[in-house]
């Protein structure tokens, strides 16, 4: 039956949705399509590996790694992007910078850990079954945390002071400066949050599959499809499109072969852009 893979698909679409939210938050605020976001997923996955092999518990290593990624993301923003944005650099300059950063970070990982695939030391076990479909603890954790993060982000953007400030800075930086909203604080907060989300997604992806320096780069293709097809800069579009894309892909790989996942993502992307240039829910 197709029903079972679709349920499984819903379970594993979590990391992609979380990563898409993080990616979109940065775009919404700074107009940067941050290709280095790929490494926001890879780095914490490797950090988790380092912490667990240093003897920490998995959960503690996980939390430490994603917080560390948040801090790294703040640093990367201030070192590489703040100057360019203040100088009014073009959008393409920002993207190329992020691509350069992505290559730097990935190759540092490559030089330290080599290209070999590794496993995250996480014991995956089946915890319950509905009919023929069995669910592992990891899938359940992924699903629940995705839902929490989706609603949490919605609440954060709509109902908190920092959320209003994020939307205000995204609309007009200069107006915020006049109103006394510190754009720097908002930038740090958003890059931190987006680093944490990227880390969350990255460790989950590594736990579902395996860990290699290309983990993030392989995911970023799907991520691009999700955020553009969902409407660039639209957090809700990214959430919905993340689930739709994984389900379409699951259905198609069910009938064809798993190798066509990338192609499906790309065709969905080109079709949405051709038919509905602003994406599913409209962006920008």
């Amino acid at each position: 039956m197709l029903f079972e893979p679709l349920i499984q698909g819903l379970m594993v679409s979590g990391p992609l949705v979380i990563a898409a939210i993080g990616f979109t938050l940065i775009f919404k605020l700074d107009r940067v399509m941050n290709i280095a976001y790929a490494e926001f997923m890879t780095i914490p996955a490797y950090l988790t590996l380092v912490f667990t092999s240093a003897g920490f518990d998995f959960i503690i290593s996980f939390v430490l790694s994603i917080l560390a990624m948040g801090a790294i993301a703040i640093g990367l923003y201030w070192i590489f992007f703040d100057g360019l944005i203040k100088r009014g650099a073009s959008i393409i300059t920002l993207i190329i910078t992020s691509v350069g950063l992505s290559f730097v970070l990935r190759n540092i990982i490559n030089a330290i850990f080599t290209g070999a695939a590794r496993g995250i030391p996480f014991a995956s076990e089946t915890i319950f079954q509905i009919g023929e479909v069995s669910f592992t603890n990891l899938q359940v954790v992924s699903l629940i945390s995705t839902i929490l993060i989706m609603f949490g982000t919605h609440f954060l953007l709509k109902s908190t002071k920092i959320g209003r400030e994020i939307r205000a800075v995204a609309d007009s930086r200069s107006l915020c400066a006049i109103d006394g909203i510190s754009a720097g604080r908002v930038d740090s907060f958003v890059w931190f949050l987006s680093g944490v989300y990227g880390g969350f997604a990255g460790v989950l992806i590594a736990a579902f599959g395996s860990l290699s320096p290309n983990l993030g780069w392989n995911t970023i293709i799907f991520l691009i499809a999700v955020v553009i097809a969902g409407g660039l800069g639209n957090v809700y579009g990214a959430m919905i499109m993340g689930i739709i894309l994984i389900e379409v892909q699951t259905a198609i790989t069910y009938f064809l072969s798993t190798e066509y996942g990338f192609i499906v993502a790309f065709v969905v992307l080109i079709l949405t852009v051709a038919l509905r240039p602003k994406g599913l829910l409209g962006g920008r």
């Binding site: 399509m33 290709i35 590489f80 100057g83 360019l84 650099a89 073009s90 959008i91 393409i92 300059t93 993207i95 190329i96 910078t97 691509v99 350069g100 950063l101 992505s102 290559f103 730097v104 990935r106 190759n107 540092i108 490559n110 030089a111 080599t114 780069w217 293709i221 691009i224 499809a225 553009i228 660039l232 072969s257 190798e259 066509y260 990338f262 192609i263 993502a265 790309f266 992307l269 080109i270 852009v273 051709a274 240039p277």
Partner: protein
């Protein structure tokens, strides 16, 4: 040693041709095609596959150009109406997908092992590698002259206008999307030619040759050389591809030979750093 230098120079010229196309698309018109590795692979595999079936090199070249043109049209058409950053990320994805296909479609491409050997179309001549290099040099020079002419032509002026202010060009009745699409398709086709010429030089094709590193290196060559100058592409390619990649590998320093894998990673760390520094402090490149 002499043969190696000829080989390295030929590779540098292939990169220079691709960087020149980035100059036309990005330096002049502001649309950055990051699917270079994809178009390059399509050109190279066309030559390799048709060559394996016994057809002449030029048929493969022609098929590659046509395929790149069609794909360029299909990708460029919907994206040329949008802000150029859409085109950038979609072509980035395209490059990766072509590589995934060359791995998965084993019946056509030989999968991860690729296709070999690919004989040089000039191999019946004496010293054919030097002649091949001279042909590459001739093609490159012709393209450089063409790019310079294009830049001062009305079409070139329009491209620069679109790069600097697409809205104004739209208001005065210019077709922004079509101009972007034209230069994008031209760039895709000539990148395909560069790929077709790359295959006999390597003597084989396989998916690992067409990783995003090709696109990355090409863009760095142009940014370092100077993105608004046609010669910038040539200078950048000679400096980075010939100078850094090939001569550096050849240096008889034991530590480099011993830690080859680590150094090949570190090289891209340095390249990335160079790219970021140039964008930040000298966005117009060496030739300015």
């Amino acid at each position: 040693m002499f043969e190696y230098i000829i080989y390295a120079l030929s590779i540098a010229m292939i990169y220079a041709i691709m960087a020149l196309m980035v100059h036309l698309q990005f330096g002049l018109c502001g649309v950055l095609n990051f699917g270079i590795a994809g178009f390059c692979a399509i050109g190279a595999y066309s030559v390799a596959i048709l060559g394996k079936l016994g057809y002449p090199f030029f048929l493969g070249l022609l098929v590659g150009i046509i395929l790149c043109g069609i794909l360029g049209f299909l990708i460029g058409k919907p994206l040329s109406h949008l802000s150029p950053d859409y085109l950038f990320v979609v072509t980035l994805a395209f490059g990766e997908i072509v590589r995934e296909l060359t791995i998965s479609e084993e019946w056509l491409t030989g999968g991860i092992r690729g296709i070999y050997p690919i004989s040089n179309p000039l191999s019946f001549l004496p010293a054919y590698d030097i002649i091949y290099m001279i042909i590459l040099l001739a093609l490159l020079s012709a393209l450089v002259v063409y790019s310079m002419k294009l830049k001062t032509s009305p079409f070139g002026k329009l491209m620069i206008g679109i790069r600097d202010n697409p809205l104004i060009c739209e208001y005065i009745g210019k077709n922004v999307a079509r101009t972007r699409l034209t230069i994008f398709i031209l760039g895709s086709m000539i990148t395909g030619i560069a790929g077709s010429l790359y295959a006999p030089l390597m003597g084989m094709v396989n998916p690992s040759q067409f990783s995003p590193i090709i696109a990355f290196t090409t863009v760095i060559c142009l940014i370092v050389g100077g993105k608004e100058k046609a010669l910038g592409a040539v200078v950048g390619a000679l400096l980075l591809v010939f100078g850094v990649i090939y001569l550096f590998d050849f240096l008889p320093i034991p530590i480099i030979q011993y830690y080859k894998l680590v150094f090949s990673s570190l090289r891209y760390v340095i390249f990335g750093a160079i790219l970021i520094l140039f964008l930040r402090f000298r966005p117009k490149g060496l030739l300015g």
